[in-house]
Amino acid sequence: MNRIIAAVVTTVAVFALFGVRLVWVRASDLASPRHMPSQELTAELPGHPLALEKPDTVVTPPYHKPANLPGDWWLRHHPKAQLRGDFDTVECQECHDVEKYCNRCHGYLGVKSVDPVPVPADKVAAPASQAAAR
């Protein structure tokens, strides 16, 4: 009987800890929103605050969004593509702001951040056409 009581008490205590964590997260969100719902991070172009307009001098790379594939193909496969050497992160920064586009998701998922590097002047992207500032 003591073992059963110990098992029940331990389980209730663990779920009570989960409940305390839930309350803490909700209270923190009310004070200052930091838990980013994943849907906001995967919204499609155009006009989304994560994206930037592509300047005329930069051609969209062919590996960026292959035809006849699901819209989230690039989202799922870009880590492997980068490790294979299909592209370098410097090329991403010709169109995208690293802090807004890469590191928000990387921070959410606990992956190493992309270091911003200076991009040549003729390849700097146009200001983003966001609907609302974030």
Binding site: V14, R34, L41
Partner: protein, 320 residues
Amino acid sequence: MGTLLLLILGVVVMVLGMGGAVRAGRSGRPRTAPAVMAGIGLVIAVLGALALREPGLEPFLWAAISWAAVAAFVAGVSHRIAAWVTTPVPLSIPTTPAPTTTGGVILRVLGEVLLHRSLIRDRKYLWALSMLFHWSLVFILLRHLRYFVYPVWGWIVVIESLGIYGGYVMPICLLLVLMRRLYRPQQLYISLWSDYVALILLLAITGTGVLMADYLRVDLLKVKNFTYCLTTLTVPAVEALPSVMFMLHFVLVLVLLVYFPMSKLMHFGGATFSPSRAARYDIKDRRYVNPWDPGPNVYETAGANTAGTGSASGTGADGT
């Protein structure tokens, strides 16, 4: 597809439970545990069928099953540990040479847990396999913490590479251990079904993990959203559920959580409670008396006035 997976899982668990109940009945053992397993499988199958008709139910089902599996794991592990803690060990029985101080005992247990000291003296290749497997498991589990916390702690990002490499090393070690168990006649003779279940379950989990990492990649944002909702006791949205590949990996992990407390995998806790390791060798400094030993005159013959042999720890035994 996730709902179909639930239905299949429920049917499989139900069939396994029914088969186990039939086998238990034939061998005269109690049928309670397999019957309970079959009942749980039936409930999961019915809920999966309901969710097929009502897609809005799916997130609630996944949340309920996940929390039930975690509760079963926590309750089972604490029940087993409570059993070990409350089991009396009246005599000092550490395997010698053994330390005589508490600090020495702590170092011995740490050496056993972190370095598998006793396995070094047995077979070196087995020790190497064991170390690779267990340390890969440690780094994989630590890296998986990133799916359950936000903001993600900095040290989890630092060990990213170790977790990735561990994900490839672990299934290789499992395959080698399984091959050893199948191809060595001595191992094959003494192996039980529980040995294979643990290995195959872990192989399935690591195999689906490697598939997701390299070939059938999933949307990690949805995965993190799903797991983070579960740890904050929130039901995720229907459209935010990850793909079936991740759900398969997740279901296998839930099965492992439920199976863990009743399996040999509880050696993770047993190593620290084993009286042959976690005890000081101080029989020369203090006397250990077993309170359940019989009295000194158990073997006294009728009519004779001689003391019986009794037990070595009994009082008043002359041993004549």
